[in-house]
């Protein structure tokens, strides 16, 4: 990766984390809602990633693992 991109990623991370406030467990009712999850419908996400993997050059990057297939 280029130096510019690395610097940009560091700046983005610092910007995002600088806005953090301490959130107590009893304040996390909203964060616990199902619609706030990283993957509200895991099966739909699995199928979607599989299709994009088969039809596009880029794949992965969200921390999940899987195998290849003859589709790509």
């Amino acid at each position: 990766m280029s130096t510019k991109l690395t610097v940009a990623l560091i700046l983005i991370t610092l910007f995002v984390t600088s806005g953090c406030t301490t959130v107590k467990p009893w304040e996390r009712g909203t964060l616990s809602k199902k619609e706030m999850s990283w993957s509200p419908d895991p099966l739909a996400a699995t199928l979607g990633e599989h299709i994009y993997f088969a039809k596009e050059a880029a794949a992965g990057g969200y921390g999940s693992a899987g195998g290849g297939c003859g589709c790509n």
Binding site: M1, L5, L9, I12, T13, V16, T17, G19, C20, T21, T22, V23, K24, P25, W26, E27, R28, G29, T30, L31, S32, K33, K34, E35, M36, S37, W38, P40, D41, P42, L43, A44, T46, L47, G48, H50, I51, Y52, K55, E56, A57, A58, A59, G60, G61, Y62, G63, A65, G66, G67, G68, C69, G70, C71, N72
Partner: protein, 404 residues
């Protein structure tokens, strides 16, 4: 409860809320969940994937314009074994038919047109995987294994990831490794080609690190960096390339590929809309010189009456592999050739909607996606569009049941 009253919460009430947060339903938004689900659940999906017929303006006249149709069935079972271990088993079955892009050639005006396979391809694929989530205090350890099998391809894969909670679950650190070992065994169903390989292998290993952070009571973010390395037979055994200088060439790609991926995800609750806003971004780069940007944004709303509605849009753009050409007019010194549309420069847009209703232990839903790819959607100017770019529609019907 009003959030601005938190300063006056009694220790007892605070302890109760802390206990409530420890319940599984409260933890599903955080990657290191902290505890298994309280009850088993099963989910099933039936999907119909239809690629658009190849347009006549992009068709060479050779082969069949009817592209892939795939019927997909998926089942997932989540089973909490005890207080600290949860098992998830996923399986999928696909039945596919249709013609596939074979190679690209110039027409009378020199514009690229697609030659399709001349026979209908019929194949089936089955995959299954199992994952354990083992909760050990602030750690969640998740080993997984799986396999995928079809007529001309076998894969076994596995991995392990670890999540560590910090700062009273405000921060989650994650890391993991995975590997896949694949065998390619081309069939003669499409075209009987004596020069095609009989079988070959490829391997894929990857590792990732990530961090999740609660920003405030309505916002959480996550960022992941992944590095992956593929090696072995990475070409498409069914595809040829057109080269006016060197006839009879096959798709031939380097036998190594290193991938670098950075992703960032945001979930934000809108008090105004009483809905969740999702934004996922991914930057991808590999040493075939492909760069891509993916942005996925969504709106998810659940009502008190049990209805849920989702709308999302995805934008994707990629540059071409350094050895890609629609067709060739000279020999390449490195010997690498591919006219695969998946290695060409283009952009794509997709739109998704989902509607579901939950009644007691059951959730029933339907969803649809429309995907369109075009050179004009690319972030960079594209001179010549690959004629094999795909557009598709996906319909899904799903049922979830929780054994409450």
């Amino acid at each position: 409860m009003s959030y601005n009253k938190k300063q006056n919460i009694s220790p007892t009430l605070a302890a109760l809320y802390s206990a409530a947060f420890a319940l599984p339903a409260y933890n599903k938004t955080v990657e290191a969940a902290g505890a298994p689900d309280s009850e088993p659940s099963i989910s099933a999906r039936i999907s119909k994937y239809d690629e658009d017929r190849l347009s006549s303006s992009n068709f060479s006249g050779l082969g069949d314009q009817k592209r892939y149709d795939i019927e997909v069935g998926q089942v997932s079972v989540v089973y909490p074994i005890n207080d600290t271990v949860q098992l998830t088993v996923d399986s999928a079955y696909e039945k596919m038919s249709g013609a596939s892009p074979w190679f690209v050639q110039p027409d009378a005006e020199g514009s690229p047109v697609q030659v399709m396979s001349g026979a209908t391809i019929d194949d089936e694929r089955f995959d299954a995987s199992a994952k354990l989530d083992i909760y050990k205090g602030k750690y969640t350890i998740s080993p997984s294994v799986g396999f995928s099998t079809e007529k001309d391809y076998q894969a076994i894969f596995g991995g392990v990831s670890v999540a560590r909670e910090l700062d009273n679950k405000s921060t989650t650190l994650r890391g993991g490794i995975s590997a896949s070992f694949d065998e390619v065994k081309p069939t003669s169903d499409v075209v009987n080609d004596p020069n095609r390989i009989d079988s070959d292998d490829k391997e894929n290993v990857s590792a990732f690190v990530g961090i999740g952070q609660v920003i405030n009571k309505n916002t959480v973010v996550q960022s992941t960096f992944t590095i992956g390395h593929l090696s072995g037979f990475l070409s498409d055994p069914y595809k040829l390339v057109f080269n006016s200088a060197v006839p009879g060439l096959r798709d031939n790609r380097p036998d190594d590929r290193t991938q670098y991926i950075w992703s960032a995800q945001l979930r934000r609750w809108s008090e105004t809309l009483s809905a969740a806003l999702h934004a996922d971004y991914r930057f991808y780069y590999d040493d075939w010189n492909i760069r891509s940007h993916t942005l996925d944004v969504g709106f998810l709303k659940h009502t008190d009456s049990g209805w849920s509605f989702e709308y999302s849009m995805r934008y994707y753009s990629q540059t071409q592999a350094e050895f890609y050409e629609p067709f060739y007019q000279a020999a390449r010194s490195d010997g690498y050739y591919s006219s695969d549309y998946r290695l060409s420069p283009y952009g794509a847009l997709s739109f998704r909607v989902k509607l579901a209703e939950t009644i007691n232990n059951w959730t029933v839903g339907v969803s649809a996606e429309r995907y369109i790819s075009d050179k004009s959607y690319s972030l960079q100017s594209v001179d010549v569009e690959n004629p094999g770019l795909v557009d598709f529609t996906l319909f899904t019907f799903g049922v979830d049941y929780s054994f409450k």
